[in-house]
């Protein structure tokens, strides 16, 4: 069928498609690539008028050294290998690591190992190997040039961001919040999604429509509701602590009611709830793909509803769980509005914290530091796409096909 003349693409169309896709790939990559490039250059180079200067970084090379052709070539090979690895060995590794038979844990552990391994390879092993190779070939007349530093590169801005401005604290806060959001949101969401997929009642239909409307609400509307309650929560919750009936129970945890403003735990619950409508819709569409006969068989064999859900459905559900988890992660990780308004300086996550670098935009190096912080925020997302490309695509289409 592919050989028939009617189906053969005319040359003009082929060329047009090729040009269009090349332009798109450039447009999609250029901003990220260029910003990442700037973060490794000294300010003079990064803000230079000539794009070649930004690309090669001559000033950076003389002041703080650079990378050689050898390092670049090795780096390119390593990146290609890293891009291929998850597709080749990811599923196997996940199966090996599936503790307690849960593939989700396997994938999670696999992703962590991959991230740590990739960082170690890129930051430690790659420079070391390149140094050795350069040292070996330097005495050779013509090849020696390849070992000399060619392109300027500096890690100063990253050092300033992570160490001097202690961005690692924001990183830890981000980790806590995203981890909490993903685990709670998945636990609560799978239960509801399963029930909604297995019920045909009108109540379920209206629940889903209600969730859809909640999904449309701008987050600022909800945060307006939270702010007064969060700031004054100590006064508002006081009756629970002082009343004789419930007081003894609550004083077990703390002497006085907590102020929710600035509490990571409170933000986790808020983000989970904001994300719930989306989560249950997505979970439901994944559960709809699992045939009903499976739980009926389990029920016939004497399982309760929960038993069937836990022993029979969940083991085949892990791709859906991973995908939904990814999108919960993205929501929590990328959020600016909620975290900026409800967290204080000590508990601030990475994305709102970047504004501290923007507002000090006075020296040239300040701007490059802001860029380095931005690249630091993007790097984990980059790794995420590398490992989970298939799951992200399936997540984007799952809601659509069944929605």
């Amino acid at each position: 069928m592919a050989d028939t003349r009617a189906l053969a693409t005319p040359l003009g169309l082929k060329v047009l498609t090729g040009v269009f896709l090349t332009v798109w790939a450039l447009v999609a990559l250029f901003p990220l690539f260029w910003v990442a490039l700037m973060s490794f250059r000294a300010p003079v180079d990064a803000l230079a008028a000539n794009p070649l200067t930004v690309l090669l970084g001559p000033v950076t090379r003389t002041t703080s050294g650079g990378v050689s052709v050898v390092l670049l070539a090795l780096g390119a090979v390593l990146l290609v290998v890293l891009y291929r690895l998850p597709g080749q060995f990811g599923p196997d590794l996940a199966k090996r690591l599936a503790l307690g038979g849960s593939m989700a844990i396997g994938w999670l552990l696999g992703a962590v190992i991959f991230a740590v391994g990739a960082l170690g390879l890129l930051l430690v092993l790659l420079p070391a190997v390149a140094n050795i190779v350069s040292a070996v070939i330097r005495p050779i007349p013509v090849l020696g040039v390849l070992g000399e530093p060619l392109i300027g590169m500096t890690m100063d801005h990253y050092h300033a961001v992570w160490v001097k401005h202690s961005f690692y604290r924001n990183f830890i806060n981000s980790l806590i919040i995203t981890f909490g959001v993903v685990t709670i949101s998945l636990t609560v969401g799978t239960l509801a999604g399963y029930a909604l997929a297995r019920t045909r009642s009108n109540l379920a239909f209206w629940l889903l429509i209600g969730a859809l409307i909640f999904r449309a609400l701008p987050h600022s509307v909800l945060v307006t509701g939270y702010v007064p309650a969060f700031v004054n929560s100590r006064e508002m919750l006081m009756p629970l602590w002082t009343s004789p009936v419930t007081g003894w129970f609550f004083t077990l945890f703390s002497a006085t009611p907590p102020t929710l403003y600035g509490q990571p735990l409170a933000i986790i619950v808020v983000l989970v709830s904001i994300n719930q409508p989306f989560t249950i819709w997505m979970m439901r569409s994944f559960f709809l793909n699992i045939p009903n006969e499976l739980d009926e068989a389990a029920r016939v064999d004497g399982c309760t509803h929960f038993g069937a859900f836990w022993r029979v459905i969940m083991p085949v559900m892990w791709p859906g769980v991973i995908t939904t988890g990814l999108f919960s992660f993205l929501l929590a990780y990328n959020d600016y509005l909620v975290t900026a308004l409800l967290l204080d300086n000590q508990s601030q996550t990475m994305v709102p914290a970047i504004s501290q670098f923007l507002n000090r935009d006075t020296r040239a190096s300040d701007q490059i530091e802001a860029i380095a912080a931005a690249v630091s925020i993007t790097a984990p997302l980059f790794l995420l796409v590398m490992v989970f490309q298939k799951q992200i695509v399936s997540g984007l289409t799952a809601g659509a096909v069944k929605g």
Binding site: L21, W24, P31, P51, H219, S273, L330, V351, T397
Partner: protein, 342 residues
């Protein structure tokens, strides 16, 4: 599944949604009719400084905050009806603008709320067709390329989609701000001096460009997946009947994609109506603001640490009414489809 088990499974999620989505909504609704006012006492103070022959005496009326037993200022919650809405919408100014010798639409741009509304609606309605078109063309183009290129192309396309919105907007801004690389390229091409961040409309263009760059991959992936399920038999018979490439596209592919085009439009309407991260990323608040940003700015504490909660509530309620109005046509359609499919 029986009602009781269903309730058990759904309960945690439902409780969360009720306490953290429905309850705040109700409280925002009531808050918008109240204002917090600090109690002041007015005291007349006469202060005198020695002068030549006579004293210079000044009497002034001072407002001092009333404090309660704990030394905290006493704040009254006063029912003000629609006062917060009036402060936001400023009907007198609107009436003046459209009176015989008013300035019309131009005067409205000086009131924050109308400025935000104008930008939010333009932004939503302009980006929608662009996202759909770019997504569709990308899907068809990728579907027509060699198999080995498709994976890398999807990988590259996912990057703009997955990136943190504020960071994505920032990285576009860094390319253009001051003498950024792309501003220089534009200057070189046009021969004019260009400052992308000096006037509103160029910022608005950049914000729209960013949004299309960010969301088109989503539309692309959804459409691309659906292209794989186009009925091959119909396609073959169309080819046998001599349908051209364009006819096949408009008569088979587009109708097949129609439910997904509606789905993507629905999601995009919801998301672009809450445009917010662009305002932060491009620091455009002097020129362009959005409805979400307006509420955000009321909620951010000012120099004295006060948040204008009541005004934020009023603008929240108005924002919500807007999204409901915008979604009604699409919801009506899904409802009709649902009834037909039953």
């Amino acid at each position: 599944m029986k009602g009781k088990t269903f309730a058990m499974f759904v309960a945690p999620s439902l409780i969360l949604m009720l306490t953290f989505i429905a309850l705040p909504l109700v409280s925002v609704f009531f808050q918008s009719f109240y204002q917090n006012r600090q109690q002041f006492t007015q005291t007349t103070v006469e202060s005198c400084t020695p002068g030549f022959l006579t004293q210079n005496c000044v009497t002034e009326v001072r407002n001092t905050a009333k404090l309660d037993a704990n030394g905290k200022p006493i704040i009254d919650r006063v029912f003000v009806g629609l006062e917060s809405y009036r402060q936001l919408l400023q009907p007198e100014k609107v009436a003046a603008a459209f009176a015989a010798n008013g300035e019309g639409w131009k005067a409205l741009e000086t009131i924050d709320f109308y400025r935000a509304l104008r930008f939010t609606l333009t932004f939503t309605l302009v980006t929608l067709p662009l996202v759909l078109l770019l997504g569709l063309v990308l899907a068809i183009a990728v579907d027509n390329t060699v198999k080995s290129l498709r994976g890398p192309l999807i990988f590259v396309s996912l990057l703009p989609f997955i990136i943190t919105p504020v960071i994505g907007a920032l990285s576009i801004r860094w390319l253009f701000i001051g003498d950024g690389i792309l501003t220089r390229a534009l200057e070189w091409m046009t021969g004019h001096d260009i400052a992308m961040f000096a006037q509103g409309w160029t910022i608005e263009l950049l914000m729209m460009f960013y949004r299309v760059w960010h969301v088109a991959p989503f539309a692309f992936v959804v459409f691309y997946a659906a292209l794989q399920t186009v009925d091959q038999d119909t396609m073959e018979s169309a080819i046998v009947d001599g349908a051209s490439r364009w006819e096949r596209l408009t008569h088979i592919v587009i109708p097949h994609l129609m439910p997904l085009i509606i789905f993507v439009s629905l999601i995009h309407l919801m998301d672009s109506y809450r445009v917010f991260d662009e305002v932060i990323g491009f620091s455009s608040e002097a020129h362009r603001i959005s409805l979400q940003w307006l509420t955000f700015s009321y909620l951010t504490p000012d120099e004295t640490g006060n948040r204008s909660i009541s005004r934020a509530s009023a603008s929240s309620m108005l924002t919500m009414i807007g999204i409901v109005l915008l979604l009604i046509p699409l919801l009506m359609r899904t409802w009709r489809d649902h009834k037909v499919s039953r």
